[in-house]
């Protein structure tokens, strides 16, 4: 019984841990837009078209319009015009080079799954009038205004002005702080239990922060968005190395309605764009399929290895049940003899013992499910900074069914033994 309880609990607990891990891995993928987001990025012409390289058009707003009208399987289209890594943002004497300064449409919020914590996103009017407004990520705030850790309070720089490549921009909004659940818990844990002062001079202790996918969150926090027209008019129309306006988009993002339609949606988008590009394939699609695939394999690996270990403990529990049943039969030889004398068939005795064994397993399974909740709470206390383990209904159902199966298998041998008892011998038994 105890074996079954622990077996079920460890099976559920293990699956909860893996689920938490999976959630942790998926967070980073969600942070860059999830699997439904597909980027259209420029690429070199294929070799058989390379003689046309002086005629390529690049990704432009006409692609956006064409896709909007013809690509029915895409539900969201967002153009993006980026400033290179050379762009400098400054405020007073503080200088910062963000990862990503983009001119884009307000719907970039949905496309890249951004969330405004303070202020607002720029709107259509800001875009139409090409206003010098921007929305920043928390990393930009940390670098230009000071972070919570440095200042001791949260600075909300709405209405402040910053200098982007020589132009003054007003901050009208700030994104929420993107981080994995694990990072968030670590940060909150750190704030609640400050680590003792480090001895010696202040120093940096390494690159980046925490865990797989931490990089994705860092990039996302280090973002400045401005209206597409602002980017186009203020930085592209008369700027550039030789003062020639550059109307091409850096990239174009589309969001498809569902992953199942990925293939056909991509084909459709490609057809549309081949027409606007006069059959020159100077673009390609970038999806997150590989990432998704990786997560899936990893999770499967964890699940199988953990599952097998937990299943072994459940099987050991099954052996426990088998022993219980054998002992119970020895105690009840006489009862079995009586039952046979008053008309129980061999089969009826077999079924009786089997059902008893299954009932023991069911009770053990139910108790195991209760214990598993306690076990998961224990995991949360033991590893407070990790991704929270999640108990799924599927895991509960599976481990419960498995425990019943173990009970069934464990009962077979004792049931055969009981059914085979000779009624005369059994009646004589004391």
């Amino acid at each position: 019984m105890m074996g079954i309880i622990l077996g079920v609990a460890s099976l559920v607990g293990m699956s909860a841990l893996v689920k938490g891990m999976e959630n942790g891995m998926r967070e980073a993928m969600e942070a860059i837009g999830g699997i439904e987001k597909v980027s259209v990025i420029p690429q070199e012409l294929p070799p058989n078209q390379s003689h046309l390289s002086d005629q390529v058009v690049g990704i432009t707003m006409s692609d956006v319009e064409a896709l909007k009208q013809n690509a029915t399987l895409t539900k969201l289209i967002t153009p993006e015009m980026n400033m290179g890594r050379g762009a400098v943002v400054s405020r007073g004497k503080k200088i910062f080079r963000p990862w990503n300064i983009s001119g884009t449409w307000p719907n970039a919020l949905d496309m890249n799954i951004h969330k405004i914590e303070h202020g607002r996103m720029f709107n259509q009017i800001d875009d139409d009038l090409a206003r010098n407004v921007c929305v920043i990520g928390t990393e930009v705030r940390d670098q230009l205004f000071g972070s919570y850790e440095e200042v001791g309070r949260e600075i909300i720089p709405l209405g402040e002005e910053i200098n982007i490549n020589g132009q003054l921009f007003t901050i009208i909004g700030m994104f929420t702080r993107y981080e994995s659940e694990k990072q968030k818990k670590e940060r909150e844990y750190e704030q609640a239990n400050p680590s003792p002062e480090r001895l010696g001079p202040e120093r940096r202790t390494g690159w980046g922060r925490g865990g797989p996918g931490g990089f994705a969150f860092m990039l996302k926090n280090s973002t400045i968005y401005m209206p597409l027209n602002t980017m186009w008019l203020k930085f592209r129309a008369s700027a550039g190395t030789n003062n020639i306006p550059d109307p091409t988009l850096s990239s174009l993002s589309i969001r498809i309605s569902s992953v199942e339609e990925l293939e056909s949606a991509l084909q459709q988008a490609r057809n549309v764009m081949m027409s606007t590009h006069f059959s020159m394939e100077d673009f390609t699609f970038r999806t997150q399929e590989n990432w998704d695939e990786n997560i899936r394999t990893q999770v499967n690996n964890y699940r199988w290895s953990g599952g097998i270990i937990a299943a072994i403990s459940l099987i050991v529990g099954g052996i426990g049940i088998m022993n219980i049943m054998f002992a119970s039969i020895t105690e009840r030889v006489r009862e079995i003899g009586v039952r046979k004398a008053i008309g129980a068939t061999t089969f009826a005795i077999f079924i009786q013992i089997l059902i008893e064994s299954i009932v023991v397993a069911i009770i053990g399974g139910i108790l195991g499910i209760f214990v598993s909740y306690g076990l998961v709470e224990l995991f949360k206390v033991l590893i407070p900074t990790d991704n929270e383990p999640v108990i799924t209904l599927w895991a509960l159902a599976l481990s419960f069914c498995f425990s019943v199966l173990v009970g069934l298998l464990a009962g077979i041998q004792p049931a055969i033994k009981a059914a085979k008892l000779d009624p005369i011998e059994a009646l004589r038994y004391d």
């Binding site: 006489r334 009862e335 003899g337 009586v338 039952r339 046979k340 004398a341 008053i342 008309g343 129980a344 068939t345 061999t346 089969f347 009826a348 009624p423 005369i424 009646l427």
Partner: protein
């Protein structure tokens, strides 16, 4: 036709090289409605005879017919069905199932017979009324006296309306007074038409039944029927 017919039945056990004849060429018949005792000292073969009659065992040689069914070559499943529907057992040590209450104990044979829950309940109460224990239906066997337990066992033995009831030393674990009540109950049942076979080593108990079969060394050594005996003596007087 007789209810039970044994024709030249042998039961032979092989112990090492030695051959033990527990039953040695036994032939007898039991008519429906008879009240019989099988007596004999321990080791005489009377238990073996009862096991064969009760379909718990099959003979080495010979034929046994019960209610027209040949049981000497029946399968264990057929034997179980016959035990269930045609035979009732009453044991020396009562052999009630300790985890079930009185009513449930009486109900068990009907469950194996596949009788509906509603009918089971009615017949259980009827049987308990017959042995005068209806107010103890919810008690556990351990809460009852020996005599009461044996009455429950009798109710259980009769519940499927068997053709024949075997009682193996039914008074062996009871004091004399209680034993008498139980014997009276058997007599009553016999008068109501049940076929009853008492197995005992006690001649006093055997004296209760009109017909006595004595087993010695695996053979029938005495087979008397008082009814005919009296008739014969009456004839002699006349």
């Amino acid at each position: 036709m007789a209810l039970v017919e044994l024709d030249r039945v042998f039961k032979i056990y092989q112990v090492g090289d030695e051959e033990i004849r527990a039953l040695d060429d036994v032939s007898l018949t039991i008519e429906s409605g008879e009240f019989i005792s099988i007596i004999g000292p321990s080791g005489s073969g009377k238990s073996t005879l009862m096991h064969l009659l009760g379909c718990l065992d099959t003979p080495t040689r010979g034929t046994i017919t019960l209610d027209g069914i040949q049981i000497h070559n029946a399968s264990s499943m057929q034997l179980a069905a016959i035990r269930n529907r045609k035979i009732g057992f009453v044991f020396q040590s009562f052999n009630l199932l300790p985890k079930l209450n009185v009513a449930q104990n009486v109900e068990v044979p009907m469950i194996y017979a596949g009788i509906s829950a509603k009918e089971r309940k009615e017949r259980t109460m009827e049987a308990l009324r017959m042995v005068d224990l209806e107010n103890r239906a919810r008690h556990r066997p351990m809460q009852l006296s020996g005599g009461q337990q044996q009455r429950v066992a009798i109710a259980r033995a009769l519940i499927n309306r068997p053709r024949i009831v075997f009682a193996d030393e039914p008074t062996g674990n009871l004091d004399t007074n209680t034993g008498e009540t139980i014997l009276n109950l058997f007599q009553e049942l016999s008068q109501q038409g049940s076929t009853i076979v008492l197995v005992t080593h006690n001649p006093e108990i055997a004296a209760v039944t009109p017909r006595r079969i004595e087993i010695r060394d695996g053979k029938v050594s005495l087979n008397v029927d008082e009814r005919y005996a009296t008739k014969r003596s009456e004839q002699v007087i006349q």
